[in-house]
Amino acid sequence: MKQMVVDVSDVSKSFKIHYERHQSLKERLLHPRTGHSEDFAALKDISFTMEEGETVGIIGHNGSGKSTLLKCICGVLQPTTGEIRLRGSLAALLELGAGFQLELSGRDNVYLYGTMLGFSKKRVDQIFDDIVAFSEIEHFIDTPVKFYSSGMYVRLAFAVAVNVNPDILVIDEVLAVGDERFQAKCIDRIRRFQQEGRAILLVTHSADQIRALASRAIVLESGLMIANGDVADSLRVFREHLLGDTPSNEVNEHQAGDVNIESVTTPTGSFDVQSGASMHFDVHINSAHAYSGNFVLEIFTRAGVLVSRSDSQGSPINLRPGRNTVGIDLPNIPLLDGVFDVNVGVLDPRGSNVKAWGEKVATLQVTYGGRQGGLVELDATIRQN
């Protein structure tokens, strides 16, 4: 039986917004009644559960309440109503190195931060070497952290949080840590966490990261949970709401929903292809008006790794009112054996707003007879000089 590790039930959180802050005694005495404040509901009746081994992604715009929700789960904030039940230990990466004392050495900070996350000194003792090895700052561990570079600082914090092996790991947009190699290491560690059956709650702006890591996604919009389920479904809802959010000062004829991606077809009707062969897609787009925008094609592995993203390279596609067909030619598919998901979308010319989006509109089945392994064909020749 899978254990429930997080149970959020009917959680709401409201904040007081101060219009005039009277924080000094004099001001309080002089203006006892002024300095009015208003309640702002950051979260409205959020309920969801998480089982062990699940990785749940929370996605939403700035101000949608995702960080507030995370803080409530971590216990940094108390919900105004409702309650959250947690089973097992939890480590949160809300802001890396928030608990560090600049004057103290890396070693002292590891112990301080470890106990702050709620783990015993004995446990930190056991994993101290792992933490140092993971953070790659062996030589500087006895140096005060005020002399650390920002990269070293966050690496150490990340290393503590993941190496204490919490049952629930909460991550708030902190995966952009260090250089690419260290990022890959972090992702690796998160995958190991998943294999070990630990639960991970991940907040991010990045749909790519959700696809790559999460088994389920929750979409928040102005404090409401508007989707909770399969990653692809949730991301579709998220994209649709991105559309709904196009600034209203844009001309009316460009309003949401007037461009729709209907379907993707191939001349043969089949999406099976040999590695190295060519392929042609037809994307059928319905547009209510003439629209000129950028076209995007994304190809993902089933594990959610983005293989390639290409766009119309600055030359916009011009949609006529009615049914349009956009052709995509892939002259030489370098992919190896596997199943790949295809996303297509129409963006505004600046590429900042999504006009229409088709998530997983096609599934590519690539067969490969050669002996290479991995994702792509490199055609490497190996010889001795």
Binding site: L25, V76, G99, D108, E196
Partner: protein
């Protein structure tokens, strides 16, 4: 020991893990349990607090002795040498009260701004927040213990025996001191979040408070008669520091009646209460201070809900 990172171990561990509930208000019992379960964090915070305070100073922890030694020297100079109060062994009298006061002042003064100063931590990491002011009280205990050692050295140097009967009461008195310092620290740290002036106000208040406690002067000699004449003796003892300081003075200074070093006339230094009276008074105070501490936690709980929007 089985590998803690295997999937089975994780599953097994979870099955036995306790369930924690986060809701709008944490009950007092839960609060105490949480505090107790995070005692290691408390210890680490105390240690890091002391380390940071004396980091890079050549004399280090020695300052925690030098600092009160200077204060002691100044008061001795002013009251014994210049103003000639005539109290024999004035250093012992002064120091036995001063270590108590220092403990209280160190706690409250450093705890008052601690939540505001560590806003980054409070807003980002989850832990029972009252641990921060309590850690300040913790480091004050360490300084207290160091000063207590110095006091004991003084007793040897001056060949001054403490009142052995009273020594047994001291742990009770110390518990009261700890609980009172903790209660004031916890409440002040939370109030300061809403009223930043508290920090400055506290500086002034603590000075007044110091002179309202019988540290420098003898309560029995200077105040008790006048207070009794106006029937406000009780008012003076509303300040818990008064009884705490008197108990320490009675234990270490001992003599209730001394002869002036100036003209030899008798001075009533300390109340002539029996050790048993001290015991009962201290037990009563311990109960009151314990309740005050619990109340302070409840107040803190009320106030901490809005920390986020105020910090």
């Amino acid at each position: 020991m089985e590998d803690p990172t295997s999937a089975e171990a994780v599953h097994e561990g979870l099955a036995h893990a306790p369930v924690r509930v986060m809701s709008a208000r944490v009950k007092l019992g839960t609060r105490l349990v949480n505090l107790y379960s995070r005692r290691e964090l408390w210890r680490n915070l105390v240690i890091s607090d002391i380390r940071i305070k004396y980091k890079g100073s050549a004399l280090g922890l020695l300052w925690s002795m030098l600092n009160p030694a200077f204060t002691l020297g100044i008061y001795y100079l002013v009251f014994s040498v210049v103003l000639k109060n005539g109290y024999p062994n004035y250093v012992i009298f002064l120091f036995s009260g001063l270590i108590v006061w220092n403990m209280f002042q160190n706690s409250v003064f450093s705890a008052t701004g601690v939540i505001v100063d560590r806003a980054g931590l409070v807003k980002k990491v989850s832990f029972p927040r009252e641990i921060l002011p309590l850690a300040n009280v913790g480091s004050a205990i360490i300084y207290f213990l160091i000063q207590l050692v110095v006091l004991i050295i003084f007793l040897f140097v001056f060949h001054h025996a403490p009142e052995w009967n009273m020594l047994a009461i001291l742990p009770i008195t110390f518990a009261s001191l700890y609980l009172f310092a903790a209660a004031v620290s916890v409440v002040m740290s939370a109030i300061t979040v809403y009223m930043r002036d508290m920090k400055h106000l506290m500086e002034v208040l603590l000075q007044l408070w110091f002179w309202m406690s019988p540290v420098v002067y003898s309560y029995e000699n200077s105040l008790s008669v006048q207070l009794a004449a106006h029937h406000i003796k009780m008012l003076y003892f509303l300040n818990p520091m008064a009884l705490i300081v008197l108990t320490f003075q009675r234990t270490f200074y001992v003599n209730t009646l001394v002869h002036s070093t100036i003209d030899g006339h008798a001075i009533k230094m300390l109340p002539t209460w029996q050790p048993s009276s001290f015991l009962y008074l201290n037990l009563a105070m311990l109960v009151i201070m314990g309740s005050l501490f619990l109340i302070s936690l409840v107040i803190f709980g009320r106030l901490e809900g809005n920390f986020e929007s105020e910090l």
